[in-house]
């Protein structure tokens, strides 16, 4: 298994795919840094300044372009799909799968090693990008991170990896299911476009309006509508991850639900403790881990039962 793992890593770092991903890492880190650099000066809050490096964005650019959003909606899905979409079917198409499987290796070693290698690459990429921001950010703002900030960032990194693993698992599932590399790529991209983008911005709000109309304008109707929308949005893995990253990176976010102005008046504007933030993000992370496990599990089972012959 180690042999295949090593080969997958070597393949990635010498391939065009690897270079593209590395360039993207630099581009995204630079973008996030730039946004933070411009935005952080206008802040009046003095707590968790370091974390804000990752979340602030300049007012001029749309809020979509802050680091967690870019990571959730674009970067991780892209990398996950890039790493997984041709894992199995390209080997099948090239005729290398039957050669490898006729060697004395367990069949699941092939898919395990590929999944593991992809996760390692993904972790390296995510860590590199965060370290770049942290390092340069430290130079720019000159405020060292507190220990809680470091822990929060680390947990955020872990959640990024879990989220990326979901996309790898999904792309890999399509690569097992479809014989043609093009169809697995297109299906993965379609899934991303729909659940990662359209669903969040168009489908879920529209559905919520249809299911819980706000026509009568009562407070209860508005609350129902919001909660319905929230419920529907959480079907999307991207939205789940976005919510959990918000909680982790913005300690001031106290709840993911709805608060009336009356309730808000009684709230002390205090950041949540790390444990409480984790508690808020925990269900989201659990679901992401579950989804990853389901995707990989299905690919595993299907792959184990598949016929080897290429034609």
């Amino acid at each position: 298994m180690f042999t295949i793992f090593r080969k997958e890593l070597a393949d990635f770092f010498t391939s065009i795919r690897g270079i593209v991903v590395l360039i993207l890492v630099f581009a995204i880190s630079a973008l996030a840094l730039h946004a933070a650099y411009a935005g952080i000066r206008g802040e009046t809050e003095t707590e968790f300044v370091f974390l804000r490096l990752f979340t602030t964005s300049e007012q001029a650019i749309p809020a979509l372009l802050n680091f967690p959003t870019v990571i959730a909606l674009f970067f991780m899905p892209f990398i996950g799909i890039a790493l997984g979409f041709d894992a199995i079917n390209s080997e099948r198409a090239r005729g290398t799968l039957s050669r490898v499987l006729s060697q004395p290796v367990f069949r699941d070693n092939v898919i395990n090693a590929k999944f593991l290698a992809s996760i390692v690459i993904l972790s390296l990429v995510a860590a590199a990008s965060m370290l770049l921001i942290a390092g340069y950010g430290l130079r720019i703002i000159g405020v060292p991170p507190s220990s809680e900030e470091v822990i929060r960032l680390f947990i955020y990194l872990v959640s990024i990896i879990v989220y990326g693993a979901f996309w790898i698992g999904l792309a890999m599932l399509f690569s097992v299911l479809f014989r043609w590399v093009g169809s697995s790529l297109l299906t993965s991209l379609a899934f991303w476009l729909f659940f990662g983008l359209f669903y969040i911005f168009m489908v879920a709000p529209a559905l919520a309006n249809a299911l819980a109309p706000t026509a009568d304008g009562t407070t209860q109707a508005l609350i129902n509508n919001y909660e319905m929308q929230q419920l529907l949005l959480r079907i999307s893995p991207s939205y789940l991850f976005l919510e959990s990253s918000t909680v982790l990176l913005l300690p001031l976010v106290r709840t993911l639900g709805i608060i009336t102005i009356g309730e808000a008046a009684y709230m002390i504007p205090n950041p949540l403790s790390l444990g409480q933030s984790l508690l808020l993000a925990w269900p989201h992370l659990t679901i992401l881990i579950g989804l990853t496990a389901v995707c990989f599990g299905v690919s595993y089972v299907v792959f184990m039962r598949q016929e080897v012959r290429a034609t």
Binding site: I4, R94, S98, P104, R309
Partner: protein, 311 residues
């Protein structure tokens, strides 16, 4: 013969979606011989080989390689067996040497040993000067030779070669056949599948002819040749100006003639030897003008063609 049987199947059966592809197959391959699995496309050759390697599960029956059950102990079989798939593929971005070393590593061959082995097999297939060229630059014939090297690098006790000469030019075919013919001396039993009788006759010691998943003929080439001989190996066609029962009687008395069939002015004579001279003399003696004389050697080809057409 008293030779050790190393590959055998017992009532091996495989069904795909209700159609029986391999039907109660009983094969026996003796050690250090080249066994040819002959049959038209779709006769079940590839499926049989996949089952022998444990890459596909049989519906019923068993396959044994060196005493190991291919279905229950595939890893032990794969350790001893090399496999050249019909649609052979290499990692195009890697060199010939790197491709082979990857396979060596999968077989747990140490670094130093694999370095030596890879050089050795590349030398054996005449590709030592191409060792460090990327496989993407190779021609079909070169890839096929690399495929043989790929099988040999693990020092298999038995090699399963699926259509090793498919799509090659005559020179490529000769090179591959020469390589195959050398294998038994090095202690490798060869099972090769083909639909070309000529190749099989050239290198195989024994053959099995498959038709619609059934084994119709099995045995050593010598024995099959004798069988063909016993039925009269030559077919002579004699055309005369007019039909003559008298002449037919004379010809049928020539020693070595087995059968004479007359169809109008043409006689079909089955004989054990080339009796053209004797027959010509008989015709001339009968004063009937000879209009035509043709001879056909009756060989394994005919047996094969017979099943080929049925299949």
């Amino acid at each position: 013969m008293g030779k050790k049987i190393v590959v055998e199947t017992k009532d091996l059966t495989k069904r795909y979606d209700g159609t029986t592809v391999v039907d109660r197959l009983n094969l026996h391959v003796a050690e250090n011989e080249v066994f040819g699995l002959l049959g038209p496309n779709g006769a079940g050759k590839t499926t049989t080989i996949l089952m022998l390697l444990g890459l596909t599960e049989p519906a019923s029956g068993a396959a044994r390689v060196f005493g190991f059950d291919s279905t229950k102990e595939p890893l032990k079989v794969k350790r001893l067996a090399g496999y050249l798939p019909e649609r052979l593929g290499f990692y195009e971005n890697l060199t010939a040497r790197e491709n082979l070393k990857f396979i060596a590593r999968l077989n747990n061959i140490g670094e130093v040993e694999s370095q030596r082995l890879v050089g050795e097999v590349l030398e054996a297939v005449g590709m030592a000067d191409m060792a460090d060229t990327a496989v993407s630059k190779f021609s079909r014939g070169m890839k096929q030779r690399l495929g043989i090297a790929d099988v040999l690098v693990k020092k298999p006790r038995v090699a399963f070669l699926d259509e090793p000469t498919a799509g090659l030019d005559p020179e490529g075919i000769n090179q591959i056949l020469d390589l195959i013919a050398k294998l038994p001396k090095k202690g490798t039993t060869v099972v090769l599948s083909s639909h070309r009788l000529y190749e099989v006759q050239r290198v195989c010691h024994s053959i099995g002819i498959l038709s619609k998943g059934k084994l119709v003929v099995e045995g050593s080439l010598a024995a099959l040749g004798r069988k063909a001989l016993a039925e009269g190996r030559y077919r002579i066609e004699v055309g005369t100006a007019k039909a003559s029962p008298q002449l037919r009687k004379v010809i049928s008395k020539i020693s070595g003639v087995r059968k004479v069939e007359a169809k109008g002015n043409v006689m079909h004579i089955t004989a054990d030897a080339d009796l053209r001279a004797e027959i010509a003399k008989a015709v001339i003696d009968s004063d009937i003008p000879l209009t035509k004389m043709d001879i056909q050697e009756f060989s394994l080809d005919e047996i094969y063609m017979k099943y080929f057409h049925e299949g």
